[in-house]
Amino acid sequence: MSDLYTNSGPVAGQLHIGRLFVATLRRDLMLSLRRKSELVNPLIFFLMVITLFPLGVSPESGFLSQLAPGVLWVAALLATLLSMDALFRSDFEDGSLEQLLLSPQPLYVVVLAKVLAHWSLTGLALTLVAPLIAVMLFLPAQGMPGLLLSLLLGTPTLSLFGAIGAALTVGLRKGGVLISLLVLPLYIPVLIFGSAAVQAAVTGLPVAGHLALLGALLAFGLVLAPLAIGAALRISVSG
């Protein structure tokens, strides 16, 4: 029986990356769905920020419809940012993060699954409710496809960049405000291209170019951000 441990081949050899991805995605979705009250918080925040603009600036429809693309994007960005801090925090506090980092499987995959789970309950949810809220801001109907598509392509990038900030601050007791400070500058290109896409759609200009830029940002984020997130997690846990 003693030869069981001396040959290490089979253990190291089999890496079930697909299974790991699905298992992590399932676990994170399950965790979020069991805490329903927190699930809707980003959406409520989104709605509330949107409400502030007519109250704070002007309820006049022509003015609001002009403001709508930018306001919708800024609110979506802030709502995503707000939810970022929780991404790794509970894993850090209960020790799951340590186990995750000690896995022989590629960290890239786990991180990507976690970000995807997070996005599908924040970014995707925001995208789905955005048209309803856009109506409240009198966004012209021809702007809706641009809004939906730009949010669909842009919010995953926000989640990916936000996760870098979350990973860097997970070891700190008060990470929340710091994350915004670290991540907001990185959000600027997404904001610019995203709101420009909506604006272009409203005025009837082609949006393909804007969407292509957002897609390029997303591809770029998908390739590089998980590496940074993984490195940041190892550093945060090490400290």
Binding site: L168, I188, L217
Partner: protein, 251 residues
Amino acid sequence: MAEKKWLPRWFYQLASPRWCYQICGKLLPWFTVAMLLLLVGGTAWSLAFAPADYQQGNSFRIIYLHVPSAILAQSCYMLMAVAGAIGLIWKMKIADLVAKSCAPIGASMAILALLTGAIWGKPTWGSWWVWDARLTSMLVLFFLYLGVMALNSAIESESTAAQATAVLALVGLVNIPIIKYSVEWWNTLHQPATFKLTEKPAMPAEMWVPLLVMVIAFYCFFAVVLMMRLRNEILRRERRSGWVKELLLSN
């Protein structure tokens, strides 16, 4: 350490804090003298001898501060990120310390570039702040510096702070071109082809030579401050080592 043989020897010498402290001490007076000469000469040249611009008049002289500080703010970020990467990959303490020393210098240069840009904007555009592409990018760069400094001071463990900051600086470095491009794109979208501050088709020699002098002067200034800060950081980090104790007791 066999796998690291391909690096030149000075690289390892640099890795020795003591050697680095001493070499910085030796270089400092030379750079200080060069900095003072160049700064005084360059300032006099740019204020009194360089010709006024035919369009902007004498307010053009602000370029001799604005451009060097903007260049320095950018290259300082680059150095910070590269030093951070070296510290991450080769676990070189000195590189971490260089990265840490860079941040406040770069941030203050970004402030200077922003302030001079804003002041310059008043006679040129008639308002203290304009959402010009360059100024906006510089503002974002300043935010990036603030993030790096905030993260560094929020993490207690020195080595963890250095590593986390290095990751953030690298992420920022990769993003800077994207941010610049997006801001420029946004700018042309909203105010097509307005008058740009520092874009001159062909600057005559009597204008760009003093500018070059000022840029070199600013780099010397950067070297001086960096070495001073680096020496402080080395002293702090190595406070328990023998040579620092000797140095302290001989004072």
